[in-house]
């Protein structure tokens, strides 16, 4: 397939049947609409392109900035589209909680502004909430902003009404599925697809999925947050159900590991919510039905999100020579030396003084003649074996003598005959009036 522009690759994504052995539904064919295969990686490519397209050519003439309130995929797509047209992009958000996405946006040249947190000493009469201020700056005279306004822009919904929805019908041989399940973020895809499917068959049952209130699932709003979305109309959905972050990750793992679909947690939530919803209906069915859900984006951007919630999935093999393996008794009895004796010892010129603090702290003040190996790096070195000769005595120093004791114990166990920890650390050294220098 040959294209003149990457934007032509937006849409026409595959609809893939999920193996019955995976979902366990006997009478329902379950299909995944693979929006993760859009060129910028998510379902938002459609909305971003449809919202920005009418304005980009004119904007490109005079220059200017595309602006959106987005913490993820819409920002990513708009950043790319803006860049392709010689424009800059700014995302304003208070929901940017995925570090990989933040970094990716910066890499794509986006500017990110984070809204301030809530006031601790609340002023109930304050009227200037951050969003009001945001809209005020957009309307300042002389500004050349294109605010795509994804939560209120009907062209967001339209992208799915004319694209995603009809594509599903076409791939199901001209029939709408009996069920449609979607997560509610901007409500653009769920509303647009639902409208297209119902136009085809008013009996389509639409399930909206929101995040459980105490949970955070990227790309999905809680029910309270959904009410803040202009495109959200509770009447669109036959039922609105909550999904927890744990459920979303479970669903994601099933798609990743058993279906070969590298979906992120949003797609996982849709899969989990779909199967949960359909299981009951499935039991009472006597004829075959079909269901479709949207796989919003890919897993790769959410590794830190998943790691925080499911560290068990990342179980890495134990490494040798790790300070974590030492018993407390070994640390308590690690060879140590007080400040006065340490000063005398250093004066003999024998010990190598290793300062385990960060380079910034070391640069500010340190023991004269010491070398700086920050503890993280030191630990890494020790996995490979002793980093000094056995006949070179070593004095280890850290802020309070805690980490240095740990490493002195470890080096001793590794066979170093003369390593000592500076008791009380650099703080005790300073408090004793011993000299610290800057180089």
């Amino acid at each position: 397939m040959r294209y003149d522009s990457i934007t032509e690759a937006i849409g026409n994504t595959p609809l893939v049947r999920i193996d019955r052995a995976v979902h366990g539904l006997n009478n329902i064919d379950l299909y995944a609409k693979l929006e993760l295969l859009n060129p910028f990686g998510s379902v938002k490519d459609r909305a971003a392109w449809n919202m920005a397209r009418p304005h980009l050519a004119a904007m490109a003439e005079e220059g200017g900035q595309v602006v959106e309130l987005s913490s993820g995929n819409t920002a990513k797509a708009l950043a790319v589209l803006a860049g392709m047209h010689g424009l800059t992009f700014k995302s304003v958000t208070n929901r940017m909680r995925i570090p990989e996405i933040k970094d990716l946006l910066l890499l794509l040249g986006a500017e990110i502004e984070e809204l301030p947190g809530q006031s601790e000493c609340l002023d109930p009469t304050a009227t200037d909430d951050p969003l009001t201020l945001f809209h005020r700056t957009l309307s300042e005279p002389g500004g050349t902003h294109l605010h795509t306004d994804q939560y209120f822009n009907p062209r967001n919904t339209e992208a799915h009404f004319t694209g995603t929805g009809p594509e599903i019908v076409k791939d199901l041989d001209g029939r709408a599925p009996d069920w449609f399940i979607a997560c509610v973020g901007t409500a653009g895809s769920s509303t647009g697809v639902a409208r297209a499917l119902r136009e085809h068959d008013p009996a389509v049952r639409v399930v909206g999925l929101v995040a459980a209130k105490s949970d955070f699932i990227p790309g999905i709003r809680t029910i309270d947050e959904a009410h803040e979305v202009g495109l959200f109309d509770p009447g669109t959905y036959d039922t609105i159900e909550a999904v927890s972050a744990d459920d979303a990750i479970e669903g994601m793992l099933t798609l990743n590991r058993r279906c070969g679909i590298l979906a992120g947690p949003t797609g996982g939530a849709a899969y989990f919510g779909a199967v949960r919803q359909l299981r009951e209906a499935d039991r009472e069915l006597t004829q075959r039905q079909s269901a479709a859900f949207i796989v919003c984006d890919r897993v790769e951007s959410y590794l830190s999100y998943v790691r925080r919630r499911r560290p068990d999935l990342f179980g890495s093999p134990r490494r040798r020579n790790s300070p974590a393996d030492l018993p407390e008794s070994a640390i308590r009895t690690a060879p140590a030396i007080g400040v006065t004796d340490a000063q005398a010892w250093i004066a003999t010129g024998e010990p190598l003084v290793v300062d385990l603090r960060s380079p910034y702290a070391y640069a500010a003040l340190h023991i004269d003649g010491s070398v700086n190996i920050v503890d993280e790096l030191f630990e890494e070195l020790l996995h490979g074996g002793l980093p000094f000769s056995r006949n070179r005595p070593v004095l280890l120093a850290c802020p309070v003598g805690e980490k240095s004791a740990r490493y002195a114990a470890l080096l001793t166990r590794m066979g170093h005959p003369d390593v000592r920890s500076l008791t009380g650390g650099i703080i005790a050294w300073r408090d004793a009036g011993a000299p610290l220098v800057r180089d």
Partner: protein, 496 residues
Amino acid sequence: MGGQPLYLEPRLETRLRALLASPGLLHTLTDALGSPLNLVVPDQLADNVQRFRSVYGTHHLAGQVFLAHKATRSSALLRRLAATDAGVDVASLGELQHALGAGLTPDRITATGPKNPEFLWLAARTAVTVSLDTRGELEQLATLVRKHTLPRTRVLLRLSGFETSGVRVLSRRSRFGTGMGEVDPLLDTVERHADVIDLVGVAYHLDTTSLTEKATALEGCLRVLEECRSRGLRPRAVDVGGGFGVDYLADGGQWERYTTELTEAVLGTRPPLTYGGHGYGLRNEGGTLRGRLGLYPAHRPVAGARYLDELLSHPAVSLGGRPLAALLLEHLYDLHTEPGRALLDQCGLTLTRVLEVRDQDAGGPLLVRLAAKADDVALEEHGVLMDPVVVPREPAGAGPGTGTGTGTEPVAVHLFGSLCLESDLITRRTVFLPRRPEPGDLLAFANTAGYCMDFHATRAQHQPAARKVAAWQEGGAWRWCLDDQYWPTTPVGGAQ
């Protein structure tokens, strides 16, 4: 009543729970001293100091915990504080006098906030540490010290307007502190007055619940301290201010259910939950929710000492990603904190007597009038939504409701104050109580010691301001005295 009662039950630790389980004592106190009546529990403050200290311990950090005096006027609490090893942060001449009089020595006092010459003079005269907002204030202090031949004064420089690289973190502008762009001339001034000014460190205080903003500020402070050292100055502390917060509610589920229902009430999909359809900052525009919920996040599991722990564990993005605590420690800096609300968590409650309980002709919530003004229980002023606890006059089972079925079912009420003023509402929301209160019962508002007890209280319409009582436990019984009669020697088990 319409649907399930939407309770917002207060979180009660042992002491407040025990007090509320002593209705005889509470009624005796209000009978003698009137309603409203404030109760403080000084021993709780010592426990709270300990919780902060243990976070310092975990991170091996030295430094002082300063109670932000402005959060309470209580003498008992301040004197109890003096008997611990903590300090106090004073923001007026009166507070400084009060702190000195309560037994806090100058090495345990920091003077902050807007200062008049008298306040500056007494601070410099008694050798407390002064936190300076601007270069002008620094000049003013230097002149004062020279003119009155006062001792060389220890100062902290309060900074503001911190900037980030990469992601721009927008922060509310502060009217206090010197902007980061003005640091160089400020340090020039410090050096010029080195004979009368001793720079001990830098400070910030941001009015935000956001960890990211505070982490950004702390990183900014570390950079300024590094600049100080390169100039040959020897600062040794960072003061990170307060704003650690309090977890007011017992049950997160109740808070979530309540805020969802409030949203629906604003959108008109359920009956109103407030007097006059007040939306607490939310409004309905064509079926879409607009505005921002102007409420304190009352259910806040990460608050107080735990919040400090999170802040200290937060990675310093611009300084190699090490946790902030590790950076402070490695740079050999002491950490100062100024918690107000968080140190006063569970340190007191406000008692109010029910004067009248009226059914509305058209049905709906009961109208309950209290012998207190809205400003006596300033929870609403701080956006804190929390139910009062009903303390019945008659012991359970002996009341007039016994056997008749009244007084045992949950009720919805509106709470009115005693001022002759339409807007004197203790809270604008409909409050759900587990039983119908009767005139003579007490409603106890828990956890009011921080800001909600005496910060806003007035004597409008010649109505009394609440008296204050200090209470402590001795041999399994509660003892009490008037707040200004309390000294650490007062309890029999104390240091006599």
